[in-house]
């Protein structure tokens, strides 16, 4: 029996099926995992100690706030607020020992929660008192994710059927640009890099968030997923991108595969930009896809709120800036140098060295501090500032925005210079 040839696009959709299994596996196996965070002790004072926390929790998760103080008696006043519905849950108790068991909060619904805890020492106005908080969340089985997995599989299979049906029925009129995209993705194998980005990012999203994100003045227990960036994923992303860029520009040139596309009726400028946009598409959309899928499967109630959409768009913008920043380092050797081995080394090493040695860079060279791209979670911060403060009035945000804009400008300049080099190199 002859097996019908499936289209490339259908195969690509079908290759996403294991992704659902990956989410399912994490939802079942991560049950019982405990995420913890310790804050304090702050300045020793017998005034009221105030702790603020944010957490993204799922239904059934058990949250406990373990407080230890230096003086007794003390009063514990905690409020959990569901930021999506505005519902509040409060508890007040006075204790007579320096460490006391506090009630466990079982999360009633999947949402983003704001926790405010006051520790006060009644009758004491002078002297030194300290208070330290250890917050922890025990993760439960994600039944919501488990229930949604079959639907996800079904949607993908249906999508594959529909795609195959449309492709077989409709003859899409080809344009030179589209043909070049097909060439880069299908024949030169960019789809492999796209798939690698998708799966490595999905693994990092599920496995690597340590549940804690500490920013100097706002504390977030991100659970079960982590808003924002995965600090060390940037190095894997760099390797994927460098390989992709080197293959598309240097290897194609060195192995003379470029000659095929040279003989197509397409201008050099278009060819340059089609190659570049193929790389951006192959590396950016997997991140969008994975993050969106995780949000949709794990916290769908949150996804459809306008606040989340704003935050998510900012998260996507952030991914784009990281991508542009890496491309600013990887593109020049790939275009200027015609040998793969040299180009690949030069594409990866400078960025890696700069990233890993960012802490040694003087503060005056702020723009070269690549860790700023990932270390501080702007998206977490945005999430919170969107709730409580005017985004643009935050000095930190303005600083971050300037940083992002700087990278965008650098990227545009680099691309324009490289375009000129590419044109000369194409027709020596």
């Amino acid at each position: 029996m002859k097996i019908p040839r499936l289209s490339f696009l259908t195969l690509l959709i079908l290759l996403l099926l294991p992704l659902a299994m990956l989410f399912y596996y994490a939802a079942v196996n991560d049950a019982g995992k405990v995420h913890g965070l310790t804050i304090g002790p702050g300045l020793p004072s017998c005034d009221v100690h105030e702790f603020e926390l944010y957490m993204l929790a799922s239904k059934g998760d058990k949250v406990s706030l373990d407080v230890s103080v230096s003086d007794t008696p003390w009063t514990y006043n905690v409020t959990y607020m569901d930021l999506l519905t505005g519902e509040k849950y409060s508890y007040i108790q006075t204790y007579y020992s320096v460490r006391a068991p506090t009630p466990v909060f079982i999360v009633p619904r999947t949402s983003l929660y704001y926790i405010k805890l006051y520790v006060s020492f009644p009758g004491k106005h002078n002297g030194t008192c300290t208070a330290q908080l250890t917050a922890s969340i025990e993760q439960t089985i994600r039944y919501e994710v488990i229930n949604r997995t079959p639907y996800y599989l079904l949607i993908l299979i249906l999508l594959a059927f529909i795609t195959e049906y449309i492709i077989r029925r409709k003859h899409v009129k080809s344009s030179a640009k589209l043909t070049l995209f097909i060439w880069e993705f299908k024949y030169m194998g960019l789809w492999i890099f796209s798939l690698v980005t998708l799966y490595t990012y999905a693994l990092f999203y599920l496995d690597y968030p340590s549940s804690i994100n500490s920013i100097s003045y706002i504390w977030v227990i991100s659970h079960p997923i982590y808003f924002g960036k995965k600090p060390d994923y940037i190095l894997i992303y760099l390797l994927i991108l460098a390989s992709m860029v080197t293959m598309t520009y240097t290897y194609s040139w060195e192995a003379k595969f470029d000659r095929i596309t040279d003989l197509l009726p397409i201008t050099r400028v278009k060819k340059f930009f089609v190659k570049l946009s193929s790389i951006i598409m192959a590396s950016y959309f997997p991140l969008v896809f994975v993050s969106l899928m995780i949000y949709l499967m794990w916290v769908p109630d949150l996804v459809f709120t306008s606040m989340f959409i704003k935050v998510y768009l900012l998260e996507l913008l952030h991914y784009l800036v990281i991508l542009f920043c890496i491309l600013s380092f990887t593109l020049p050797p790939a275009i200027i140098i015609s040998r793969v081995n040299v180009s690949l080394v030069l594409s990866t090493i400078p960025f890696m060295l700069l990233y890993l040695n960012s802490h040694r860079i003087p503060r005056e060279w702020y723009i070269f501090d690549l860790r700023l791209l990932t270390k501080n979670s702007q998206v977490d911060l945005l999430l919170i500032t969107l709730f409580q403060r005017d985004l643009l009035k935050e000095w930190y945000m303005i600083q971050q925005l300037g940083y992002l804009i700087f990278y965008l400008i650098v990227f545009v300049i680099i691309v324009l210079v490289l375009l000129m080099i590419y044109r000369i190199k194409e027709s020596p």
Partner: protein
């Protein structure tokens, strides 16, 4: 109309001179570019395709297009084959041809027809890595043949091809000669296509040492006649009487050379051929001496 033109063309690769003051005009028809290795044939063709920029001088395609600036326009009507073309070895020949056909808006049935002629369909579904050099060459050749409908540039199309494939390719070129504005073949081997050319150009060390249109060549050169006859003896007898002794008989065809066209030749079914190989060898040996 002049289809391909080079005016005072120079091309230097650092200190190496690849082309020296080349002036050439090619009209409609089938043109042959001959020359030993390193004579600058491929460089000249690459400049006409827009893959190289001239160091000095001017180059035009169809009198108005400047190749290195307007390659994207030229490639809409030009099919090109170069020896150093490469195809990804991990895809199949059919996939590659599908890609080219889609890009050039060629009906798949036309590709299949040509593929049958070149005997490609028997292996084109396999991955290119399993092909021999000749099989790969045929795929690249076919992509050039479907790549343009007005100008066809073939750089060394016969290397790596077997005898049957060479014959089939010549047949295709002769058929396409009327469809195309110009077909330019660069080669250093003689496969029989030279019998159908409209002009001959010889390059040596980057310089054009000979260029002649067919009518001119017929006037100046010794012409080889190919006559189809039922009884060769009658014709041989006539030729001996004319003093022509260098005669060759292959089946019912009689070949002989003469500087002047015999008047009685009209009685026979004869074709005028120019011995391009001999002419080329004479030119090269003269230039070298």
């Amino acid at each position: 109309m002049i289809v391909l033109e080079a005016i005072n063309l120079w091309k230097l690769f650092r200190t190496t001179i690849a082309l020296k003051d080349v002036n050439l005009k090619l009209d409609k028809g089938l043109h042959l570019l001959l020359g030993p290795n390193g004579s600058g044939k491929t460089t000249l063709l690459k400049i006409w395709c827009g893959l190289l920029k001239p160091t000095r001088g001017k180059v035009f395609v169809k009198e108005k297009y400047i190749p290195w600036k307007q390659r994207h326009i030229i490639m809409k009507f030009m099919g090109v084959l170069f020896e150093d073309n490469n195809i990804p070895w991990w895809i199949s020949g059919r996939d590659y041809l599908e890609f080219i056909a889609r890009e050039k808006n060629i009906k798949w049935s036309e590709v299949v027809e040509l593929a049958h002629c070149l005997n490609i369909t028997s292996y084109w579904s396999k991955s290119i890595r399993s092909y021999s050099s000749g099989m790969k060459k045929k795929i690249i050749l076919l992509s050039a043949l479907i790549g343009g409908n007005e100008i066809l540039i073939l750089d060394e199309p016969y290397t790596l091809l077997d005898e049957a494939a060479v014959k089939e390719l010549n047949k295709i070129i002769i058929e396409k000669k009327t469809e195309y504005e110009a077909i330019l073949i660069s080669s250093h081997v003689f496969t029989g296509i030279e019998e159908y050319i409209d002009s001959l150009t010889v390059l040596l060390n980057g310089k054009i040492v000979f260029h002649g249109e067919l009518p001119e060549l017929r006037k100046t050169e010794e012409i080889l006649y190919e006559c189809k006859v039922e009884n060769p003896l009658n014709l041989i007898d006539k030729l001996y009487r004319e003093g022509i002794e260098e005669i060759e008989i292959r089946g019912n065809k009689v070949y002989f050379k003469s500087k002047q066209k015999p008047e009685w030749i009209k009685q026979y079914e004869c074709k005028e051929l120019i011995d391009v190989k001999k002419l080329y060898e004479e030119i090269i040996s003269y230039e070298r001496s």
